[in-house]
């Protein structure tokens, strides 16, 4: 109605002027998109089929980079490490964040203080956090092993032990789930009290209320954050660089560490571009799988109507 009447009031010359204004105003973003996103993506796709060291022009080598990658043990190790890291950090982080958000959503004393305490680690720079945990993971006198010692457990030499370095990085990733806590807390607040009351009338206990009210109502938020967390986990670089440099014996060779070394230490830009595109595809596939699976576990209110 209003749209129609507006069209009548504004002659088409005005509409054209508005359209021109629109394109002028979005020009900064559009240029940025073309120059720093669209072109680099195409360029990187092209480079992935070449041998290129940044100094001499790229030489077309077809699928050779991809072939080499698929036959490279480091690549498969980095895939394994990165997926294991995602498998540890994402579900663990989600459960921790959910549990703490659920607790904080109850009427406890000092919710704001708790929220602040949990949130602060997640805003700190990954480098400073990594340095802190470098010391926490120290086998002698490190906080973690001292804590384990209280229970009579002799902790491993976390970062220098092939079997424990990756678990160490996963544990560390759980420390920065504060952002998720804040998000889930907001999501929980958005669940209408009436649903809980209705469930209570139906005789639901706490477990049932969580299972049949909280979880379905929160599932879109969980879904979205799990996707973001997976994408983030697959692109981890900073902590790996500071804490282990991929070691010991490639036990923490994250995908991005491998890519960084190829691109900026060995100047194999073609090879690195192919790696980047493979990562892009992996992220797309995993995201699509999660979206596909969401039909089973994500509840959208619109479905109910």
């Amino acid at each position: 109605m209003t749209l129609r009447s507006r069209k009548l009031i504004f002659p088409s010359a005005l509409a054209r002027r508005e359209a021109i204004s629109f394109y002028i105003l979005i020009l900064p973003w559009l240029i940025g998109f073309l120059v720093f996103l669209a072109y680099p993506m195409l360029r990187s796709l092209y480079l992935s089929f070449t041998t290129y060291d940044l100094l001499s022009p790229p030489v077309w080598t077809g699928l050779r980079n991809y072939e080499r990658i698929l036959n490279d043990a480091d690549f498969w190790q980095s895939i394994r490490v990165t997926l294991l890291f995602a498998l540890g950090s994402v579900p663990g982080g989600t459960i921790i964040a959910l549990a703490l958000a659920m607790v904080l959503s109850q009427k406890l004393a000092g919710v704001n203080i708790w929220r602040t305490i949990f949130f602060i680690p997640s805003i700190l720079s990954s480098i400073a956090v990594a340095i802190l945990w470098l010391y926490i993971f120290r086998p002698e006198g490190g906080l973690l092993n001292l804590a384990l010692g209280l229970f009579g457990i002799k902790g491993p030499n976390w970062l220098l032990d092939e079997n424990w370095a990756l678990p160490a990085l996963i544990i560390m990733s759980w420390w920065s789930v504060g952002g998720q806590i804040v998000i889930y807390l907001a999501g929980l607040k958005g669940i209408p009290e009436s649903l809980y009351e209705a469930a209570e009338i139906d005789g639901a206990n706490n477990v049932a209320k969580f299972r049949f009210v909280t979880l379905p109502m929160l599932s879109p938020t969980i879904f979205f954050n799990v996707i973001l967390a997976i994408i983030g986990a697959l692109q981890v670089f900073d902590v790996g660089w500071v804490l282990t440099r991929g070691g010991p014996n490639n036990a923490t060779l994250f995908y991005m560490l491998n890519l960084y070394e190829r691109a900026f230490q060995m100047a194999q830009m073609g090879y690195a571009s192919a790696l980047a595109w493979i990562l892009f595809l992996i992220i797309m596939v995993i995201t699509l799988l999660v979206i596909r699976s969401s039909a089973v576990w994500v509840y959208y209110e619109s479905e109910a109507h």
Partner: protein
């Protein structure tokens, strides 16, 4: 009256409480609360302890950081200055007959366990195979290596004295030994004459040692133990720092209840006792070195002889280049040497070699020398050049100055400490050279980038978001979807070509690549602003439009003033991302003087992470402070912004 009423009130209240608790609802709630608090406590421990540990560690000296058990409250370990040197010795507390004394360690004394040959009886010869492993056991004052001996199903505790024939050991039962065993200073044992002793037909290699009770025949059996010799700390005041070449052995001094080796000092009367002996290295501030050092050809140096500069013995010479100058030779090369005029060597001094272990190599006209960065001297942290030869030095006190000294088991010494926050880690971190620069430079760079990125993001995002929020145009939906699509694009795909672009523009290793793109908007911030703008009533703009305002005026005069919270969020997120960004500056920059805090901190860690724990942690804390302050001032925007990124249906 009061007393009469109170009991009833209490009783009735207690009764109602009890009734409430008994209803299952409340039980359930109580249980839920309890489990809530358990989850909360676990979560808080996990989140909080690393933070507390870090804050505490940043206020401690290095040695306190990795103690077991952890020292949570930073402590100051009391020390005493030794003579007129800058060497400090630690003080200890020890309990002596119920009284706590503050002492300093002035030496160690080694002891061994010996057997008095006259008290020895019941010597047995036992096949080695029947003996178990030795366990060091302390009985009374005496330490013994006790082994279990199992024979005929019976186990006895024995001590081995010597090796017998045919793979046997000569042993004595612990119970038979106790009367004969005693602790004796190792030097006293070794000072006795060797003596072959025959006991029960077995020959032992023993010693004849002179003691206060006359000569005793003993058999040393070990193990050796070490005791600290301590004395009152005021002894330190009389100390001198001397080179060990000036010392000559003067036997043992009997002081208090103990003995210490003493030495004669050339040119000094009376014997002296060594407090500490260690290597010292002449050093000079790098600034003085750079300013005043001269490269001298061999021919220009004549009349070489030792010279003492600021109390430091150096090799000196006369340097002739025009007027002859008295110089000290800092680094000797084959053809060229680095020298410094004696009157320009104000900062030449001695430092313990132990504090110079992370020195890096440097060169002056291809003459190699070493520089220690971050050398802490008093209230100053400087880079120092290591010059001349290291020398073995001893801190000595006249034996006569020690009035009372006694032996203490090292395990009974506890550090003399009191709680004190130490801010030196922060000062030293700021004064420590990182690459060619210092930590404040990293802060400056980060703040510059924050400022430029903020300007870029606010300018570009407001304009673009306004277009998406208000203006109608064909293709708008397509571009909006495109914008949303780019939000989740993995950055590695564009990393290499973006590097290429900046290289072709000639701006790699400048700050440009790190802020240029913010002037072209950011998908997330545009989206957030657009959502906010959409919620502003159109009528407010219409009024301005009727007054003849154009789009630029509407944005500046209507939209921006109404969008302060949204723009604040843009600024805060830009600050956050810029401050913490690591990979891009890491890739685009190679000169340390351009590094932002994140990369600088990583660099600091690479250089000093295994040496200056306290400074690295202090530097980390400093790097976090701006973010933490920002959070406390703008908590609301953080939380709301975060919620926007995470809640989508």
């Amino acid at each position: 009256m009061d007393t009469a009423v109170r009991p009833t009130t209490l009783r009735s209240r207690a009764a109602t409480n009890w009734q409430t608790v008994r209803t299952s609802k409340t039980w359930q709630r109580g249980l839920r609360h309890a489990s809530s608090y358990i989850v909360l406590a676990l979560g808080a421990a996990f989140m909080l302890f690393p933070m507390l540990w870090m804050v505490s560690a940043s206020l401690k000296p290095s040695w306190q950081i990795f103690t077991d058990p952890p020292i949570w409250i930073p402590q100051h370990w009391e020390t005493v200055r030794v003579g007129n040197t800058n060497r400090m010795l630690s003080l200890w507390h020890v309990d002596v007959e119920g009284e706590t004394k503050t002492v300093m360690e002035i030496g160690v004394r080694r002891y061994t366990t010996v057997l008095d040959a006259t008290g020895l009886q019941n010597i047995l010869t036992v096949p080695t195979a029947e003996l178990g492993d030795a366990v060091t056991t302390t009985i009374g004052e005496v330490t013994l290596n006790v082994r279990p001996w199992t024979t005929n199903g019976e186990t006895r505790q024995v001590v081995a004295l010597a090796r017998g024939e045919n793979d046997t050991l000569i042993v004595v039962d612990v119970n038979d030994l106790q009367a004969a065993a005693l602790r004796m200073p190792l030097d006293q044992v070794n000072g006795g004459d060797r003596a072959a002793l025959e006991i029960g037909g077995i020959e032992f290699r023993g010693r004849a040692v002179e003691t206060a009770d006359g000569v005793r025949q003993i058999i040393p059996i070990g193990p050796e133990s070490q005791l600290s010799v301590v004395s009152a700390p005021d002894v330190a005041a009389a100390a001198l720092l001397v080179t060990v070449e000036n010392l000559s052995d003067a036997g043992f001094a009997s002081i208090g209840q103990t003995e210490l080796p003493q030495f004669n000092l050339a040119g000094q009367d009376g014997a002296h006792v060594i407090l500490v002996q260690e290597s010292w290295q002449p050093i000079i501030n790098e600034a003085d070195f750079d300013a005043a050092a001269i490269i001298a050809q061999r021919e220009q140096l004549t009349d070489e002889q030792p010279v003492v500069v600021n109390g430091v013995a150096m090799q000196g010479a006369t340097y002739t280049d025009g007027t002859p100058t008295q110089v000290a030779i800092l680094i000797r090369g084959t053809q060229f040497s680095v020298v410094i005029p004696v009157d320009a060597a104000d900062s030449l001094r001695l430092a313990q070699l132990g504090g110079l272990t992370s020195a890096r190599g440097d060169q002056l006209n291809r003459i190699p020398f070493r520089v220690q960065d971050g050398f802490s001297a008093g209230d100053e942290t400087v880079s120092v050049a290591l010059v001349g030869e290291p020398r073995e030095m001893a801190l000595m006190v006249p034996t006569a100055a020690i009035s009372d000294a006694f032996d203490v088991n090292p395990a009974d010494l506890s550090r003399a400490m009191y709680p004190e926050l130490r801010f030196d880690g922060f000062r030293e971190a700021l004064q420590t050279k990182v690459g060619d620069t210092y930590f404040p430079t990293f802060f400056r760079n980060s703040f510059i980038l924050v400022l430029l990125n903020t300007i870029g993001h606010v300018l570009s995002c407001v304009v673009v978001a306004y277009a998406f929020a208000r203006l109608r145009a064909p293709g708008k939906n397509f571009f909006f979807l495109l914008l949303l699509g780019t939000m989740m694009l993995p950055y590695p795909v564009t990393l290499v070509p973006v590097y290429e672009i900046f290289r072709d523009m000639g701006i790699v290793n400048t700050l440009w690549p790190l802020f240029l793109r913010s002037f072209f908007g950011n998908a997330f911030l545009i989206f957030m602003l657009r959502q906010f703008f959409t919620s502003i009533p159109r009528e407010l703009e219409d009024a301005a439009r009727i007054d003849g305002a154009n789009i630029a005026q509407i944005i500046v005069k209507v939209i921006v003033p109404l969008s302060k919270p949204a723009i604040a969020t843009v600024i805060i997120f830009t600050f956050w991302w810029t401050w913490n960004s690591f990979l891009e500056p890491f890739i685009f920059l190679s000169s340390p003087d351009l590094f932002p805090v994140s990369v600088g901190l990583n660099f600091f860690n690479d250089q000093y992470g295994t040496i200056f724990y306290d400074r690295l942690i202090s530097a980390s804390v400093m790097s976090m402070l701006p973010m933490i302050l920002l959070f406390f001032f703008a908590q609301r925007y953080f939380i709301e912004g975060i919620q926007m990124t995470g809640i989508k249906g």
